[in-house]
């Protein structure tokens, strides 16, 4: 049997598939960030905390109210999205006329506060959340054992990513949104309520993070730092893809998941830094990112 660099092809396929699954999380999260940055010009550092809230709210719904995973998948993004809308109205909307840096500082502070509150309440070790009954077990693909749940994560994430891309790039609503970022005054003059559009966009971006959080709850430890660990990587993904590029963030998310997966086979010790090495190279060669437009 032939081998690729000392790794049997079966093992390689397995690793690529796993990379794709991790890529789904990167893609979902970086998509939310890209939407918020592209349309609001806000660097949403609270994204990781909102992802964590998604997982925690799913846990609370299950343990306090007996709401199952499937309903959580629908209800949690709405609940956390509403929370995002309140934050946007109360705080972030006051910063649009200021430099990016202020938005970054505000959302970073918010993230620390939210994480601190959850840490005080629930501790750091995390909470158990079982895989839903319908998705327990797995398939033997010959080259690997694929848990059904992981398969579901890829599908769900792809569908949501593509739907978002379609909505923003191909529908009338998306056209309004993009126009509103180009020239809010002019769009407002056409009778469109630009501030409301912006608020809803932020809420939507946050809802995407919460959705990813619910997806993550059964497979990763549900703990207050789960978002903080991930968000730095996701920011690197957004930078590589090009700040604010919707399609760029999706493709880069999945692509980097794959590259990280391969690194885990050939040089596991380096798997935590490979994305940042790529980021550094991309910034040197193409500072606007792979899919970014140069201003």
């Amino acid at each position: 049997m032939f081998e690729l660099l000392g790794i049997p092809p079966q093992a390689l396929f397995g690793q690529l598939l796993l990379g794709l699954i991790n890529g789904s999380f990167y893609a979902l999260l970086s998509l939310g960030l890209a939407v918020i940055f592209g349309l609001l010009n806000i660097i949403n550092f609270a994204h990781g905390a909102q992802y964590m809230m998604g997982a925690f709210v799913a846990w609370m719904l299950l343990n306090y109210l007996g709401v199952n995973y499937w309903w959580a998948l629908l209800l949690v993004p709405i609940a956390v999205g509403l929370f995002g809308i309140v934050i946007e109205r109360l705080l972030i909307s006051r910063l649009y006329h200021l430099d990016h840096l202020y938005g970054l500082l505000l959302t970073f502070g918010l993230a620390l506060i939210i994480q601190g509150l959850f840490r005080n309440q629930y501790g750091i070790s995390g909470l158990p959340y079982q895989i839903p009954q319908q998705l327990a077990g797995g398939q033997n693909l010959g080259f690997m054992f694929l848990p059904n749940y992981r398969g579901w994560v890829i599908v769900a994430s792809l569908v949501v990513c593509l739907a978002t891309w379609f909505m923003i790039e191909k529908t009338k609503l998306g056209a309004y949104l993009r126009a509103a970022t180009e020239n809010p005054t002019l769009v407002g003059a056409f009778g469109i309520n630009v501030p409301r559009l912006v608020t809803l966009t932020y809420g939507f971006g946050v809802a995407l993070a919460a959705f990813a959080g619910v997806l993550a709850a059964p497979i990763y430890s549900v703990n207050p730092n789960m978002g903080a660990d991930l968000i730095i990587v996701v920011f690197a993904v957004v930078v590589i893809g090009g700040m604010g590029s919707i399609l760029g963030s999706i493709i880069t998310g999945f692509g980097l998941g794959l590259i990280e997966g391969l690194t885990r086979v050939f040089y596991p010790e380096g798997s935590a830094v490979v994305i940042f090495v790529i980021m550094a190279i991309v910034l040197l060669v193409k500072p606007a990112g792979l899919f970014g437009r140069t201003a």
Binding site: Q10, A11, G14, Q15, L18, G19, I21, N22, R119, G123, I124, S125, G126, L127, P128, Q130, I131, G137, G138, M144, F145, P147, Y149, R150, P218, I219, Y220, S221, N223, N225, M226, D229, L230, G261, R264, V265, P268, E269, S271, A272, V273
Partner: protein, 399 residues
């Protein structure tokens, strides 16, 4: 950096008119992870444990004024070093306790030696603290990688698990635990078929687990801790590792980890600890008091070790009527230890605290009678077998 200062005994002393004023003032620094992955197994709980030791010792009545301060080292050796230096140089700290994360513990070990103070480690695992890196100023209280390797490792090999694959956290502790366990496995006639070192801390372990799965190993040894272990076990269940006939060996699993996993996922896991709240009447009584102050959470062995360490230190302060580091260290090694949590024991020449270790098996959800009722005692590893023989550590203090 958060530093909270608590004045305890000073207040009590002034309130008690007639008793002699405190003639020895001791400052204890509890340095550990207060926000990261080890915050639940050490964190504020260790500070509570230290405070309980001071109260139970009735330090104020004995003329010892104790002040406890604490700080977050964020599991980073550089942060730990900075705080330790500041505590010793400027804040007048006499003894540092806890310090989980082996790399941070080794840093504090060196600084304590240099400043000639006292370091009682409870949270860190590396057996090097009493081996090649041993120091006349350090006591290693609760457990170490050698004890874990011999407890869990031997039990797994005895059950027929001869071929091992290691999933190792890529820092001092993981390396030490892997090395010590591999030695046990090889000594018992087993072999190590592979190793993968994962970044610390990690989130997704599926890729490493898959490598372990295809390695043909009978046992997958998890040489990591805290959140990394939780994620590894959770994802191993998801990938059907145990259904596939491979056994998981959690080489360092704390009760807080089992709590976070839930019994559904954690059941059947074999693990080694030096303390469990439900061991006997004394541990139950103490743990009940502890959990009342710790939001209902039961103590980990690390927190128990901080309590016992402070108690023994204060006894040495009382016996020597002072706080000279050399005198205290020799007193702590000379005096047998006795506390409600670890029973009777001793501190060896190389700084190793000696007590029984226990092999536990995690209960199934049906066997458990309620929250925190998690372990069945499988075997007691007697104190003289539990830790590395004095001569084998390579410690320069041993002559």
């Amino acid at each position: 950096m958060k530093i909270r200062t608590m004045m305890l005994a000073a207040l009590a002393a002034t309130m008690m008119a007639g008793t002699a004023l405190a003639d020895t003032a001791v400052k204890i620094g509890v340095l550990n992870d207060r926000s990261g992955i080890y915050a639940d197994l050490a964190g504020e709980g260790s500070v509570i444990a230290a405070r309980m030791a001071v109260e139970d010792f009735k330090a104020a009545d004995k003329g010892i004024a104790v002040e406890i301060i604490s700080a977050d080292h964020q599991n980073k050796p550089d942060v730990a070093s900075t705080i330790a230096r500041q505590w010793y140089d400027q804040d007048g700290v006499d003894v540092i306790l806890d310090v989980p994360t082996s790399s941070a513990a080794l840093a504090v070990n060196e600084i304590t030696r240099e400043k000639n103070k006292v370091f009682i480690n409870s949270g860190a695992g590396t057996a090097d603290l009493t081996g090649s890196k041993c120091s006349p100023n350090t006591v290693h209280w609760t457990y170490d990688t050698w004890a874990l390797a011999h407890g869990t490792g031997s039990a797994m090999v005895a059950n027929g698990g001869k071929k091992w694959f290691f999933l190792t956290a890529d820092y001092a502790f993981g390396h030490a635990l892997e090395r010590d366990t591999a030695e046990v496995v090889k000594a018992a006639g087993g072999e190590v078929v592979g190793t993968v070192r994962h970044p610390f801390p990690g989130t997704d372990f599926s890729s490493f687990l898959l490598q372990a799965q295809s390695s043909g190993a009978q046992v997958i040894g998890l040489a990591n801790a805290g959140g990394d272990t939780i994620n590894s076990i959770k994802q191993a269940a998801e990938f059907g590792i145990t259904q596939g006939g491979q056994a998981l060996a959690g080489l360092l699993v704390f009760i807080t980890d089992v709590h976070a996993l839930g019994l559904q996922t954690a059941q059947g896991l074999v693990l080694t600890e030096s303390f469990y709240w439900d061991l006997n009447d004394q541990t139950r009584e103490w743990s009940k008091r502890f959990s009342e102050q710790n939001g209902g959470k039961m103590p980990t062995m690390v927190q128990a070790g901080v309590y016992a360490g402070v108690l023994h230190y204060l006894k040495a302060v009382e016996a020597t009527a002072g706080k000279d580091a050399a005198a205290i260290m020799s007193k702590m090694k000379e005096m047998p230890t006795e506390d409600p949590l670890f029973g009777k024991g001793s501190v060896r020449q190389d700084g190793r605290k000696i007590h029984d270790m226990y092999l536990f098996k995690v209960k199934t959800p049906d066997q458990s009678k309620g929250p925190w009722d998690y372990y069945d005692l499988v075997a007691t590893i007697p104190a003289d077998k539990a830790f590395r023989p004095l001569a084998d550590g390579g410690c320069e203090l041993v002559k």
